[in-house]
Subunit: 470 residues, 2 copies
């Protein structure tokens, strides 16, 4: 191993410098698969830094899948692969003719409108074993289960949120539910005593807004800028409740930088506001550090954190969770019997053990790699097929992107024409609460469900739909 040079005078924290050093070493294969990294204690000593600095660097590398823990305190390099698929090769004639045939039957061939899981994204045999094991808890299965969610699962989630998103979380703060929408119904009930309005990003999470509107909240759409929600608009709206997805805004994909996060938290402290942070796909950040969650920065206890397993586990398994700040716990507990949670006990027990055995981390690494490779294929295909006919909001995370189509067609026409070619796409205009400003049509494209080997032809179909005279 080369000499490691750290610069204590740099604005960049030491652990980031150390993390970047190892990242480059691994990416350039100077550190090979299976090779052990220096022990934490040894490296800290030789670099004259604290053990915590080394630990944080290693944790970062591990969370991004570069290294894994091999025994208690030692780490070794994971297999590192660049792009596993050949990009840009046209599909063979067999694929093309099979696609043409299915097209004639009017089916959805490629679903760009859904963030569902890649069929190879999950080890179902392994999961089946965990489900089977959960059947041993017969006594618990004949009951309704813990009203807040099974205790062992809440413990595992507390650990998971702490490790992956920062901040201290206790299992008592966690409420499990069969989906984010179900949790929002509970949340509406908890928050309505103190709030009659809520601010949402515009465009933003459609279903969430409707649930709050159903509960009688006044919805205040706030312009979404490239660095997140418009703070001036938010402040002058006078509301004290806001729903955001700062780590990868839906649907724009924009990320809220740290400075603005702190500003938002300060605002919440000043006016005693509550921030609902929807962290729906933070696991899929392919480069750089995960953006810290607001929850992890929140000293004032003003953030409700919403997490879901529906991107990292098969979404047919319905388990989501929220972390309530301490100040909302008494309100929840007072009426907790009214919010009997409704996630399947079998699935909760299986998931708790799956997480305890380290399988969730492995599963996330597996998916991150799979989707990273797919994202490369996807963005390359977009570039190659469309050239300057579209503009791409290329972000380095998530399972979808937003494109602006340089066409005179209306958004709905683009959606319909794509569907006629067997491609389901969603238009950004559907995610506006009020009218979308006049501009060129924007589409949301998910790549997670498109088979890697079909990426090129799928994108080609979109182009034919949009840029071939109807």
């Amino acid at each position: 191993m080369e000499l490691i040079m750290l610069n204590p005078g740099s604005k960049e924290p030491l652990y980031i410098q150390l993390y970047k050093y190892f990242k480059v070493e691994i990416e350039n294969s100077r550190l090979g698969e299976g090779e052990k990294l220096p022990s934490i204690r040894g490296l800290a000593k030789s670099l004259a830094v604290s053990k915590i600095t080394v630990e944080k660097a290693y944790q970062q590398l591990m969370s991004e899948g570069y290294i894994e823990n091999c025994d208690r305190s030692r780490y070794r390099v994971n297999k590192f692969e660049g792009t596993a698929f050949k990009v840009g090769l046209p599909p063979g004639p067999q694929v093309v003719s099979a696609v043409k045939e299915e097209l004639d039957e009017g089916r959805v061939l490629y679903d760009f409108a859904s963030g569902e899981m890649d069929i190879d994204g999950f080890n179902f045999s392994l999961w089946k074993r965990y489900i089977s094991k959960a059947f041993f808890n017969k006594e618990r299965l004949v009951g309704y289960g813990n009203i807040q969610g099974e205790e062992e699962l809440r413990s595992e989630i507390a650990k998971y949120v702490h490790n992956s998103r920062g901040g201290k979380v206790r299992k008592e703060q966690i409420i499990i539910g069969p989906g984010v929408q179900s949790l929002l119904n509970t949340l509406c009930s908890i928050l309505k005593a103190d709030n009659s309005s809520i601010a949402f990003e515009e465009p933003g999470f459609k279903n969430g807004r409707h649930i709050f509107a159903d509960h009688g909240f006044h919805i205040i759409p706030i312009t979404m800028k490239t660095d997140g929600i418009d703070m001036e608009e938010l402040v002058s709206s006078k509301t004290r409740l806001v729903y955001i997805s700062p780590s990868h805004q839906f649907p724009t994909g924009y990320i809220m930088p740290i400075g603005k996060r702190n500003r938002l938290l300060r605002w919440a402290e000043e006016v005693s506001a509550t921030i609902i942070e929807d962290d729906y796909d933070s696991e899929f950040r392919y480069f750089g550090r995960p953006i810290p969650a607001l929850k992890g920065l929140d000293n004032g206890g003003n953030v409700v954190y919403l997490g879901s397993f529906s991107k990292v586990m098969p979404p047919s398994m319905r388990v989501s969770y929220m972390v309530l700040p301490d100040r909302l716990l008494p309100v929840y507990q007072k009426n907790s019997s009214l919010y009997n949670q409704a996630a399947s006990t079998i699935e909760q027990l299986a998931l708790a053990k799956f997480m305890a055995d380290g399988h969730l981390e492995r599963q996330i690494r597996r998916l991150r790699k799979l989707y990273y490779e797919k994202s490369l294929l996807f963005f390359d295909a977009l570039k190659q097929v469309f050239g300057k006919q579209i503009e791409v909001n290329e972000t380095e995370s998530g399972l979808h992107t937003l494109i602006t189509v340089k066409s005179d067609l209306r958004a709905q026409e683009l959606v319909d024409r794509a569907m006629a070619r067997g491609c389901r796409v969603a238009s950004v205009q559907d995610y506006y609460w009020e009218h979308m400003p006049e501009k060129q049509p924007q589409m949301i494209l998910y790549f997670s469900k498109i088979p890697a080997s079909h990426m090129q032809i799928a994108v080609q179909l979109l182009k034919e739909a949009w840029f071939t005279a109807g």
Copy 2:
């Protein structure tokens, strides 16, 4: 077999006469286990009645577990047992001392406050096989699933509701959800355009009322009489939305007779009202014919039917459903993407196959027998232990009863004193939306979870709690 005498001049329909004849024969062991009943065609011919009359009688006997289908059109007698347990035997000294020991640890020994399932009420190995089979649907498991619930399960539920509760039901009318509360959130959203208030039975379903209140509905409590909700109060309230449990009201246990059902339906037709029928435990009617569901009598299409599997399957499996009348379907469909249902796909697929293979019917028969026997033990124990110190609302269905305790103690004191003896009980006063009228304290007691062999001692503990000087 004796000569069967039917009286065509009687007010009682012929099929009921026929059904009663066989019932008595079987209960008196004049028709023994395994014995075949006459063929439908043969019996119809020899009695000079229509085949439908015989079919209906047999169907009734089958639904009550007296007979089973052995080949296509033939039926044979099931095992018939009276009371399987010896009633009234004091528990052995070992049980008593074990109970005393656990009491010292402050645990809940006997949960009279919960309708959870008897630990021997379900064949988990069989269910596990169905769950395992569902894993073959890998393609469907990587998706979010049908927004309204998996299609094959909706088909099975449509058949089940039709067969057990009458009325024609199409799978398109069925919405699946992970619990009644989750379905009510959807329902509130559908109904709020046309309704701002809702009538509820008083006392009645606590959590349901809170969900409607959370959605901004004005709650109108209507006095519960021994024949169901007070019609005069309902009519003069001017609301056009009412939530009832006519087949076994919760918590009183009262049953709404057919005349009043028709009156309620006529009212709904006249004022275009919507009736929400919560049919939470209709499977457990131990004597006589099941009361027909309002849904089955509803020609006007004004009834929303709510059903749940949580009493007949382990409640940890979260699957409930509602049947929407045609007129509400367009409202639902317009916003269906907002109500993405959240029951686990694996459990839905397993349940659909379980039902298709006839296991649900068997399971219901098994539980009906188990709970019937327990109910005998329970009511005998109440009578023997308490004598005239309590008054019992003895109904012939369900898993709970309501008792009036002839004591000067307040309801909360009774609850606390029972808890000090390790018995959890619920007070009826908690199920009032407004103040409960001044009367002697009433308690709700479930017997489903109390082990049969402990029934006597459990009831004894209640008596000691309430009638021994503190």
